[in-house]
C-alpha cells in the first residue's frame, strides 16, 4: 500500500477529529467575516419594516431542540424586529419543545443583563391601564410611563404582554389548528401559555382570525412549515415567510418562485443575514449567535473542501483514475 492509497483509505476517525477541532476553535478566536444579506432575507425584512402597531404577525417556533442552533436565532431576530416596531406578535409552536424554545427566546430578548434588551411588562402588571379602556399602543405606553415607570437605560423599549405579543404556545395536530384559526384564533387558543384570556387581549380584539393577520413567519425544522402554506396561504391567502434549516431551503425555493412565500431565511446563514440587517439598521448594537456561528461554518467548509482536494490529489497521483473502478456507483 503506497502513501496515496493510504491517504485514500484514511481512517474516518481522523476526519471526525479534524471536524471536531474546527468547530470548537472559533468559539475562542472569532474571525468576524462580513456577511451580505440575500434577496430572500431582505424581502422578509422589508415586509416587516412596512408594518406597525396596527398590523399583527404570527411567529411560529415550529422546531425541536435538534435544529435550535439554526432556527432559534431566526426566531429571536424576527421577534426583535417586531418588538422594535411595536408590531403585535402571536407566538405559536408546532411541537411541545418549540413552546419552551419560544419562551427562552422571549427570556433572552427581555434579559436585562444583555445589550439591547426590551423591558417586559406582564399582562397583570398593566391591568389597571386596560381597565380604563385604553387599547392603543401609544396610549398604553403613555399611561404606563405616567404611572411612574421609566424606561431603563439601554433598554430598547417596553413590550406589553397582550398588546405587543401573546405567547400562545403549542397545540397538537397543528395543521388543523391553523385551519381553525382561519375562522377564529380564540377557538383554538382560549388562553395563552400563562393562562391569560386571549379574548381579552387588545391585540386579539383587533385581529380575531388569521384573515386579519399580515404575516406568518414560521421557523421550522421540519415540513411543518408547509402547513402554513397549505392551510394558511392556500386557504385564506395569508402571507407566509419561512425560516427553515439550510437543508430544507433548496426545496422551498420553489415556493419563492411561485410566489407562495414572500421570503425565506435558510439555515444559520439566513439567520446571520437577518442579524446583519438588524445591526445595520440600528435595531441592535451587537451581532447575535448566528453571526458567531458563521465563523465555525467558514472553517468547517474550508476543511471539508481541503479534504476533498486532498482525496482527489491522492486519487490522481496514485493513478487510481486509470485502474478499474474502486467501487461501483450508479
Amino acid at each position: 500500500m503506497n502513501i496515496w492509497e493510504k491517504m485514500l483509505n484514511l481512517d474516518r476517525r481522523w476526519i471526525f477529529l479534524l471536524i471536531g477541532i474546527a468547530c470548537v476553535v472559533p468559539f475562542f478566536t472569532p474571525l468576524g467575516l462580513p456577511i451580505l444579506p440575500s434577496e430572500e432575507v431582505i424581502s422578509i425584512y422589508d415586509y416587516i419594516e412596512e408594518l406597525g402597531p396596527d398590523n399583527a404577525i404570527f411567529v411560529g417556533f415550529d422546531f425541536d431542540p435538534g435544529t435550535a442552533a439554526e432556527n432559534q436565532p431566526m426566531g429571536i431576530a424576527v421577534l426583535r424586529h417586531a418588538f422594535s416596531r411595536n408590531i403585535p406578535v402571536f407566538i405559536t409552536a408546532v411541537t411541545p419543545m418549540g413552546q419552551g424554545l419560544a419562551a427562552m427566546a422571549i427570556d433572552e430578548l427581555t434579559d436585562e443583563t444583555r445589550a439591547d434588551f426590551f423591558s417586559f411588562v406582564s399582562w397583570s402588571e398593566w391591568s389597571a391601564i386596560r381597565d380604563q379602556g385604553i387599547t392603543e399602543r401609544a396610549e398604553i405606553e403613555e399611561a404606563w410611563i405616567a404611572e411612574g415607570n421609566l424606561l431603563p437605560e439601554r433598554s430598547r423599549g417596553f413590550i406589553f404582554e397582550g398588546r405587543d405579543f401573546a405567547h400562545l404556545g403549542y397545540l397538537p395536530v397543528f395543521n388543523l389548528v391553523i385551519l381553525g384559526m382561519s375562522t377564529s384564533i380564540v377557538s383554538q387558543y382560549p388562553t395563552d401559555v400563562a393562562g391569560n384570556s386571549v379574548e381579552e387581549m387588545p391585540m386579539y380584539q383587533e385581529h380575531k382570525s388569521l384573515r386579519e393577520i399580515d404575516l406568518a413567519v414560521t421557523n421550522a425544522g421540519s415540513a411543518a412549515c408547509t402547513w402554513w402554506i397549505i392551510y394558511g396561504r392556500e386557504k385564506i391567502g395569508l402571507p407566509v415567510a419561512f425560516g427553515v434549516t439550510a437543508v430544507m431551503a433548496t426545496d422551498y425555493y420553489i415556493y419563492i418562485q411561485s410566489g407562495q412565500i414572500i421570503g425565506q431565511m435558510g439555515g444559520l446563514r439566513g439567520a446571520a443575514e437577518y442579524e446583519v440587517l438588524l445591526l445595520d439598521n440600528d435595531y441592535t448594537s451587537e451581532p447575535g449567535k448566528a453571526f458567531i456561528g458563521m465563523d465555525v461554518q467558514n472553517i468547517a467548509h474550508l476543511l471539508i473542501i481541503f479534504l476533498v482536494i486532498l482525496g482527489n490529489i491522492a486519487f490522481f497521483a496514485g493513478g487510481f483514475n486509470k485502474k478499474t473502478k474502486l467501487k461501483g456507483r450508479r
Binding site: P172, A246, V296
Partner: protein, 211 residues
C-alpha cells in the same frame, strides 16, 4: 440540584453518543437502549394524553352531543389489537382499510394540485422579459430544458437510446447530478450548525467555558 444532576446526565449521554464515532461501546449501547425505551414510553403517554383523553374519553364521559359516534373509531382502533391473535388477525384490516381508503382519497386531488398542476404552472415561465439580466435568461432556459431532460430520464417504457431518449436522458442525469451536488453542498452548513448547537451545550451550558 436536580438541574445540575440533569446537566451532568445530559452531558454524559452526549459524550456517550459521540464516543460511537470512535467505536461502538457499552456507554453508547446504554444510551441507545435507554433512548428507545424512554422515547416509546413517551409516545404512549403523548398518545393517551393528547389524543385519546381529549378526543375520545373526555367527550364520551362528559356525554357531549353525538359523542357516541366516537365509539366507531374507538372500536376500529381496538381491532388493531386482534393482530396478537392469529385466528382473528384479519380483523385488523378494517381499521387499516378505513385509514387507507380515506387517506388515499383525501390525498389524490391534493397531490394532483400540489405535485403536478402547481409544478407545471411554475415550469411555464417566460424565458425572457424586457429588463431581465442575461444570467436570469440563461437560468430560465437551463431550468426549463433541465426539467424536460430530467423527465426523459424518468421514462421507463422507452429504451434510453437514440437522439431524443438517449441524449435527452443523458442530459437529464447530468442536470440531476448538478442538483444533487448543489443540495449536498448546501446541506453542509446545516449539519455543521447541529454540531455547533451541541458544542454550545457542552462548552457553554455544561462547562461554562464559552458565553
Amino acid at each position: 440540584m436536580t438541574e445540575t444532576i440533569g446537566l451532568w446526565v445530559a452531558a454524559l449521554f452526549t459524550i456517550g453518543i459521540y464516543s460511537f464515532l470512535y467505536k461502538e461501546n457499552p456507554l453508547y449501547r446504554l444510551a441507545e437502549h435507554l433512548v428507545i425505551g424512554i422515547s416509546l414510553g413517551y409516545f404512549i403517554v403523548i398518545s393517551y394524553m393528547r389524543v385519546l383523553e381529549p378526543r375520545l374519553i373526555e367527550p364520551i364521559s362528559n356525554g357531549e352531543q353525538g359523542a357516541w359516534l366516537l365509539l366507531i373509531p374507538a372500536i376500529l382502533g381496538i381491532l388493531y389489537i386482534t393482530r396478537f391473535f392469529p385466528k382473528v388477525a384479519w380483523l385488523s384490516r378494517y381499521p387499516m382499510a378505513f385509514l387507507m381508503g380515506a387517506g388515499m382519497g383525501v390525498g389524490f386531488p391534493l397531490s394532483m394540485k400540489a405535485q403536478v398542476l402547481r409544478q407545471l404552472e411554475a415550469s411555464l415561465i417566460p424565458l425572457y422579459k424586457t429588463g431581465m439580466s442575461w444570467e436570469i435568461v440563461l437560468g430560465n432556459v437551463v431550468m426549463v430544458l433541465g426539467t424536460l431532460a430530467a423527465l426523459i430520464y424518468f421514462f421507463f417504457s422507452k429504451p434510453h437510446k437514440g437522439l431524443f431518449f438517449g441524449t435527452g436522458s443523458k442530459i437529464g442525469i447530468w442536470v440531476i447530478m448538478v442538483g444533487f451536488g448543489a443540495t449536498f453542498g448546501f446541506t453542509v452548513m446545516g449539519r455543521i450548525s447541529l454540531l455547533i448547537g451541541r458544542i454550545q451545550f457542552l462548552l457553554g451550558d455544561w462547562l461554562h467555558i464559552i458565553k
